[in-house]
Amino acid sequence: MAKKRKGVYYYDIDKLNFIFAMLAIATLIGVAWMIWDDYAREWKSYQRQFRVIETEVTQQQLADVEAQVDQQELTRLQQQRDSAEESLAAQQEAFSALQDELVSAQKVLDQADQESRFAGSTFDARRWEYEEAAHAGGGEAPRQLARMEEAAAAVAETRAHLEEVTTERDRIQGEIDELLANLDDALAGLASMAREIERLQDRLDDLRFGFVYAVRNAPMLDALNPSLRIKQAVIDDLPVDLNFAGAPRVDRCETCHLGIANPALEGQQQPFAAHPRLDLFVADTSPHPMGEFGCSSCHLGKDRATSFVSAVHTPDSESEEHRWVDEHGWAPTHLWEWPMRPSYETEASCLKCHMDDTWLPDAPVLEYGLELVETLGCYGCHALKRFEEARNTGPSLEHVGVKTTQEWAYGWVSDPKGFRPDTPMPSFFGNENNSDEYWQSRNVVEADSMVAYVFESSTDIELETPSRGGDVASGLQLFESVGCQGCHIADEPGSEGFPTDEPRFTGYRFRGPNLFGIGSKVNEDWLYTWVKGPEHYWAETVMPNLRLTDTEATDLTAYLMSLRQPGWENQSLPEVDEALRDDVLLEYLRNQLSSVDAEARLAAMDNHEKRLLLGQQLIARYGCNGCHTIPGFEGSGRIGTELSAWGSKAVAQLDFGLLDLPHERRAFLEQKLEAPRSFDDGKVKAPQELTRMPDFVLTDEEVGAISTAILGYTDEEIPDSKKPEKTPRREAIEAGRQLIDKYSCRSCHILEERGGAIRTVIAEQGMAEGRTRPAALAFAPPNLRTQGARTQPDWLYTFLHGPELIRPWLSVRMPTYGFTDEELNTLTMYFAAVDDAPYPFDEKFTLAHSYPRDMVRAGDRLASDDILKCFRCHVREGVTPATDPSQWGPDLALAADRLRFEWLQDWIADPQAIMPGTSMPQYFTDLSPGSSPYVDRVRGNAPILDQDPVTQIEALASYIMSLGQR
């Protein structure tokens, strides 16, 4: 570099100045760019857009409010105002004089007030001086006392003066007010009419893009008091999990989702739409107000983020993803473990607080998923909260030898869906990782050995044999009428008449196995013994006893045995490749023994022993005992991963194998459920390294629901204050609900507005016989709405323990469940708790209650055939009415021991309110005193109980309650 000297300096200063100028300009541009970069936030443009929308909405509201103004009232007030002003103008002179007077009075008052305050403080000071002097002793005290008394006199004097002038001022003011009263009244009326309008107009002024707006929101100046600002809700007790520290949740979602709490904005374009369930969320009146629960505590995503991408929104679909990529530059982020839940998964978040809720009707997908988890028995292999105490999903195999044959069992284990496509039993063989040629032979060996072990360990129990051949036709009739169809279906899935109104697996009518083809599975004696008393074969079964007579049981057995699966008759056990079996067994023996010992052990065994040992090993490997009781496996643990916090599992801990899946929890889970063994694709693994989760052959909907449920299991710690409150009543309800689910009460009964699946069957049958649907439904098991308020706990306990006939005309039977004492108590408490009825005692039925004789007599008159004709429909002490059975009502003589007096009165007053659709008529539509139309016709239309409907109802109830007491 040739450097030339210019002047005395080493560098050319002009050149340096030029460089300096350029750099200064660049710095200015750079700083401006920096300020703009900091200023131009995504959320501000949303807030600007929202101001336009809010302006429109507010203008609309303003127009609505203005349209609603009472014009008459307005005119009246305006006239009042005008006339008041006129009359005031007429007295102008007097009014001015009064005003002048007021001014001078006020002046005097202010002076007096000052004097009074001076005198007060002087007195306080002198009192203190006197107290000090007196305390110190010496000669000063008397002088100070005199000073204090002087001040006290001044206080009294000034106060008197003050009171005097205040009275004078008030008098003048009163006169003025009197003159103005009419006018003020009119003005206040006008103001209150305009209040809402003014509020809206003020809001519109605030929303205008004017000079004030521009200044407040200008770059840099917006540090002071901007109108575009970040809105946030701080939730301290639902902290964001930052692994080793919890940070308070600061939800800034409302910065862009500005209309989230405004019902007027329902269905608006995002991000301005209102929350679709303001009754449940966000609104202050809902159970989950935003200020207490925030947004990201349920939706997840990054709480503090204020841009679309950094908030970690998750698209619902691929098309949405493409749209987001175009519009927002969206990209998946791995920097936040908690991406927002897609909308179809949102319900997963309910579970962390509502873990103890048995039913979740407001979260249908989650509830369905949890029901699937229960029905499919996921907890058999995977430890899972909520299901710690759940019973085995599959039947006990302790006595399976008396039920079916090894041949059938082999076919079943090899391919359960082949026998019954809708069985919850999953397929262990023929899946993605065991279908090649080697595995085809090995599967035969494995299934054969497992069946051998199960049948070898099965013990015999005594079976009864039907004494004669049964009648298939009457068996079918029984099957259709006695109530079996509440829980069982006997149709091939997909065939005509197969119910489609309920989901398979979890539907109430799917609670018991589909009986289609059962004749090819079980033997007749077993079936006969089973239907007569299921608990004999399997003590823990939830199948109830329908108290079938021997004849009924014989016919039913005959019918069920006639249900055949042609492909599953006369099967034989497979040819087993013994060399392969030796190999497989050796492989398992090597797990515990050295190769030499394993081979020696193998050589010492005969074929039968090999079969049994291999079977035992395989049952342990596949975890059959997770769902079935198998002798020899008592107390052995679960073989799968615990899932109780799976929704929090770090994505990095999931092995996606060689599959091309998005690295997300949900994608992993859905793949696992759809094709459980596909994670082995392309991997080289030894047989025992292969994944072993069986294939449940689920639909997309089922997979989605289960995924949502499992993703709801997180390790977040929720404070009790955020969970549903735990009251004794609530706990009683939850305990009852669990039993209701366990015994599937809702297969027959409607409980808490859901269930009664058998009603569809009964309605169809009745309609086939020519009845109307409501008439047909009169033969359905009762809706148990208000059951707790209706019946006495004692009676309910007795009834559930051993049902008695209440509606003898029904052919469907309330079965005997063999409830334990604890279960009976839980259920009676449940019913009382649901209706918030007194439990267990109530004055009306606990103390022997006698009903006033005149009331009973009046009730007797009212109920008679002359007036209300109660016994046209109701059974009376076993005497059935002459009408069609579809109109019959329960025996009123049972009421005394069964019903609650209060409920009975409510029922008579308005039956439809308690049981919509009931055929009981409403006799008293007007409850105002003296309005009852029912008079004593026999006694010349003499009034009954002063024609008071409430008293008449009480009389009727007293009469009915007294019926059974006689």
Binding site: L16, F20, V31, D37, A650, A652
Partner: protein, 362 residues
């Protein structure tokens, strides 16, 4: 074609080849320093080559992923700056050496260079201009490339790979080959102590205030070996070539978390007792590790004596026993690092001396 070129380059970036090639290139650079600093084509190759290489490679997806990480940008810049300044110093040194050989004063010692200039404006003004330029550069950088923040730290789930700050990556690389006690405590301490000791070990005033190579033909290569090979190169490796599970990945290789490489290493004692002598390992640690101990004693005690007598005799005489002892220990310690690395690559040597009884390995 492109794939196979990439595969070859990936292979060339394997640590053993990279280290060897770098040492050879550095030696060639010293040897042919005049050619390297004055030939037009060589200048273009040395200064432009890395730029062109990075620019072309940036089109490759996996290379781009690593190259474009906001954390890695300064390291790319640093690589080029290091090459540039080493080259520049060598160029000036060569020029001066030629001037000295021709009997002229060094370039820094000319009459013009010795003349005084004003602090203002000749110094302060240009400093201020540079300050502005750097400010603008950093400002624009910070606007265009936001801070590379990551997810909230999770002690139960550390990042894979877990990398030290870039300036410590050289030490982290050494951790692969040495006991943490050595790599994390002894070696860094020796680096600091060695750097502090330099002025006392090397009081030679020549080369002060001007560039030269031939007047310091031992000192410069030794220092640059330590700085360029054992520090910068290892930082580069740790940044761009060490991926998940601290495995080596070529510059065009996808960082597959599931990549598995054989990593079985064997102690020297096992080699000698089990393989060479065909007997089991002795139970007593001193007997078991005796060969390794002897070997290390020979390296750190016998070798300096031998060197003092033969090849390093000149230094021994110049420096005296104490200074020579310290210098040669530091030198041997420095050379010990690549020796150990080569042994690991060649014979899977884990430790010369393994004393798990005392939590101490060399």
């Amino acid at each position: 074609m492109l794939d196979s070129i990439q595969a070859i380059i990936d292979r060339l970036f394997a640590p053993e080849i990279l280290l060897t090639a770098s040492i050879v290139l550095l030696l060639l650079f010293f040897k042919y320093r005049k050619f390297c600093t004055q030939n037009k084509w060589m200048i273009m190759l040395i200064l432009g080559g890395p730029v062109v290489y990075f620019a072309l490679s940036a089109f490759e997806e996996n290379f781009w992923i690593q190259f474009s990480k906001p954390d890695n940008l300064p390291i790319t810049l640093m690589l080029w700056l290091v090459i540039f300044f080493v080259w520049l110093a060598m160029r000036k040194g060569v020029e001066n050496d030629e001037r000295v050989a021709a009997g002229m004063p060094v370039a820094e010692d000319t009459k013009e260079q010795k003349e005084k200039v004003f602090v203002w404006p000749d110094l302060i003004y240009i400093e201020f201009l540079m300050l502005l330029a750097v400010f603008i550069g950093i400002l624009v950088w910070s606007i265009l490339i936001p801070a590379p923040l990551e997810e909230p730290a999770n002690p139960q789930l550390t990042p894979n790979p877990s990398k030290a700050p870039w300036y410590f990556l050289g030490l982290q690389e050494i951790l692969v080959y040495f006991d943490p006690w050595l790599a994390g405590v002894v070696i860094p301490s020796l680096i600091v102590i060695g750097l502090m000791a330099l002025p006392y070990i090397d009081p030679n005033p020549r080369g002060n205030g001007y560039y030269t190579f031939s007047e310091r033909r031992y000192e410069i290569p030794i220092f640059l070996f330590g700085f360029l090979i054992l520090w910068i190169l290892l930082v580069f490796q740790g940044t761009f070539l060490r991926g998940p599970n601290w495995n080596f990945y070529g510059p065009y290789e996808y960082w597959d978390v599931h990549k598995i490489v054989p990593l079985t290493n064997v102690q020297l004692s096992e080699y000698i007792w089990a393989r060479l002598l065909g007997v089991g390992l002795p139970a007593f640690w001193l007997v078991r590790e005796i060969f390794g101990i002897i070997l290390l004693l020979m390296y750190f005690v016998a070798l300096p004596v031998l060197l003092a007598r033969k090849w390093f005799n000149k230094f021994y005489v110049q420096m005296g026993a104490v200074r020579y002892g310290i210098a040669v220990f530091l030198f041997l310690m420095m050379v010990f690092v690549p020796i150990k690395m080569y042994l690991r690559w060649m014979i899977n040597l884990k430790y010369f001396v393994a004393l798990p009884e005392f939590f101490f390995n060399i």
